[in-house]
């Protein structure tokens, strides 16, 4: 079977989406990056190969996410795209008339505004990661609640308490204070959901016109408490797509499929599943060439240098053909 692979290497999770020629999802993977993107990528490749053996032929690969360059070097990618374009592509494929995409991932959050099926505006969180997945993870852990149950517990609340959502550090001390005061866990969780939504709308979505249909995707969309808080705040129904947690990867696969169909005479750069068996290592050093002291990252495949980046001037990155 001919198919296309999308890989989204994010700060918290590394996701894979395998689609067939009609764009139907054959397999999705959600792997925790756990600070080791290379392992996450190779593990994902192995899992797909074990699952399908020789029944599939990869016709194109797309990578996205903050580790898109790394994934492209290891796997061999035809399309290396930013997360915004990838998320929009995946969403449009399922909901052609979407006008607003809310995306909250592990460490960043975005809003994408579309009109007539075209992205017209977007914004990303800047310096602050308050209200993203890793913060929710941490709070759930602190309260001893499995993150999967976070949303359902929050939904039980009848009297949500008010939590300061401007900053993750303040939100945490606020929550601890509310706990000591004797508030119920569900009220605190619901309060947290509301605070995060307020913060998102005031920072990331500031000044943007949020028109329905509104689609909510990214790992945090699993949290029904946040979804509900968005619905209450915006007064519209929020759609959570079926593959909400791997939309970036799905988008990358769709973009790869599109790219290959536009460039019929190009062969895919996919290095094959054997790539996963080779040993990949990363090393870094500080360049002493000028006072910038750039940190240069070198990626090795079986001791062979295959990529280098991190320099501002191009002295190192341009001296190797990728």
């Amino acid at each position: 079977m001919r198919c296309y692979l999308g890989i989204d290497v994010g700060s918290v999770s590394t996701n894979f989406a395998l689609i067939d020629e009609d764009g139907q999802m054959l397999k999705k993977l959600y792997i925790r990056t756990a600070g080791k993107p290379i392992e996450a990528i190779t593990n994902g490749l192995k899992m797909i190969q074990e699952n399908f053996k020789d029944n599939i032929e990869i016709m194109g690969v797309g990578t996205t996410g903050s580790g898109r360059k790394l994934a492209a070097v290891i796997v061999g990618a035809d399309v290396v795209k930013n997360e915004i374009t990838a998320h929009a592509a995946a969403c449009i494929a399922e909901y052609p008339n979407v006008q607003t995409i809310l995306e909250i991932g592990g460490q960043d959050s975005k809003i994408i505004i579309l009109r007539n099926g075209v992205v017209v505006d977007f914004a990303m969180n800047t310096v602050c990661a308050a209200g993203t997945g890793s913060f929710l993870d941490r709070q759930a852990q602190r309260l001893g609640i499995p993150i999967e149950q976070f949303g359902d517990i929050a939904l039980r609340s009848k009297n949500p308490t008010r939590i300061a959502g401007r900053c993750a550090v303040f939100a945490e001390s606020d929550m601890i204070h509310k706990q000591q005061m004797g508030y119920k866990v569900e009220d605190i969780l619901k309060g947290l959901c509301q605070a995060l939504v307020r913060n998102y709308l005031a920072n990331v979505a500031k000044g943007k016109e949020i028109k329905p249909p509104v689609v909510f995707q990214g790992g945090v969309a699993a949290n029904s408490g946040i979804k509900k808080a968005f619905e209450e705040e915006l007064g519209v129904d929020i759609i959570v797509p079926k593959y909400f947690d791997v939309m970036g990867a799905l988008g990358a696969a769709i973009l790869a499929k599109k790219f290959m169909s536009q460039n019929k005479y190009i062969k895919t750069k996919f290095l094959g599943f054997e790539a996963a068996l080779r040993e990949h290592t990363a090393e870094s050093f500080e360049c002493q060439g000028c006072p910038n002291l750039c940190e240069i990252i070198q990626i090795y495949e079986d001791k062979k240098l295959i990529a280098r980046w991190g320099d501002r001037c191009g002295r190192w990155s341009e001296s190797i053909a990728v």
Binding site: S66, K81, N82, E83, I84, T85, D108, I113, R115, V118, V119, V120, D121, F122, M124, T126, V127, G207, K208, E209, C290, P291, N292, L293, R312
Partner: protein, 326 residues
């Protein structure tokens, strides 16, 4: 005697004038190094807390010059256009430097105010010359040469669309010549207007190579500096109130001009975190552009943090938006 000029702030506008003026008076002009990690770090450590990034960077450049020169030129700039002002931090800059940085060589901090009229530039030059002990005719001669050179450079810049970008240690002024340029790239797919304060746009370190990155993505970059002044004034007239900040006037004037006269595909606004005028101008731009999505608009806030990945993601997505709308 060697006079040091920090490669920061108004350097990106007036360096051709200053260099010619000082050299005509018989001095050697030394530029600080292009902004680098050390300059930024020195600047961050020495500047008062509430200053903006460009002011901090300026401090770093002054520190870079300390052991290399006999005097540092830090003019007290109040106004460069009649009835307009420049940011008040420029006005207090010599004092900030003197109070924050120890072991300084003498500072040439003569006042520049063209608020009443353009004669302010001559008075400024005269004060510098007098401070350095020169006669009026000699100063006049140096001033004339510098003005001619500056106007010639400005014409070249606008006629050939030369962005005042440094390259390595070479200053934009050395690099600007008619023949070296105009190798206009026909592979450019889009034209994007980048607006913002010149020292934020052209400092390759501070802007994380914004211009080069956009060019590599197939974008032809234009900025207020290569637009004829009358077009900017034309655009600024459409505002319902006269803007009294020169640099902000250039930002809004050029944006409004192009909105009316078409042929650009997107606008990038570069603002520095904590800048008062930028925050207002950014808001005005956003209201004008985003409300009905007239043109793709990207607002970039620069501060001392150097995470380039998020920055690249925004630029790439922005170019995708332009492409998608075609």
């Amino acid at each position: 005697m060697r006079i040091g000029i920090p490669r920061a702030l108004l350097y990106y506008i007036y360096y051709p004038f200053w260099k010619t003026f000082f050299e005509s008076l018989g001095y050697e002009v030394i530029l600080s190094k292009p902004t680098n990690k050390k300059i930024l770090k020195d600047g961050l450590e020495s500047t008062v807390d509430d200053a903006c990034l460009p002011i901090k960077v300026f401090h770093g450049h002054v520190i870079d010059l300390i052991d290399k020169v006999d005097a540092v030129f830090i003019p007290r700039v109040i106004s460069v256009e009649p009835k307009e002002f420049i940011c008040p931090k420029f006005l207090g800059l010599p004092d900030m430097i003197k109070n924050s940085i120890p072991n300084l060589p003498p500072i040439i901090d003569c006042e520049l105010s063209a608020y009443k009229n353009k004669k302010g530039f001559w008075e400024h030059a005269l004060a510098i010359g007098r401070y350095l002990g020169h006669s009026k005719p000699k100063i006049m001669k140096a001033y004339m040469r510098a003005s001619i050179e500056f106007n010639y450079y400005k014409k070249l810049r606008i006629n050939y669309g030369i962005l005042p970008l440094d390259c390595g240690e070479k200053s934009f002024y050395e690099l600007a010549s008619a023949k070296s340029l105009h190798n206009e790239d026909h592979s450019c797919k889009f034209t994007v207007l980048i607006v913002g304060h010149p020292y934020n746009i052209y400092d390759n370190y501070v802007s994380m190579n914004l211009i080069k990155k956009l060019q590599n993505l197939g974008v032809k970059v234009i900025t207020p500096e290569i637009i004829p002044e009358k077009n900017i004034l034309d655009g600024a007239k459409q505002l319902n109130k006269r803007l009294f900040w020169t640099l902000s006037k250039n930002v809004l004037g050029s944006t409004y001009y192009f909105l009316k006269n078409g042929n650009i595909d997107g606008i990038v606004h570069v603002a520095s975190f904590g800048c008062g005028p930028d925050s207002i101008v950014g808001e005005l731009l956003e209201r004008k552009l985003s409300r009905d999505y007239t043109l793709p608009f990207l607002r970039i806030n620069i501060d001392e943090h150097s995470g380039e990945e998020g920055f690249n993601t925004r630029l790439e997505a922005f170019v995708d938006v332009i492409e998608g709308r075609r």
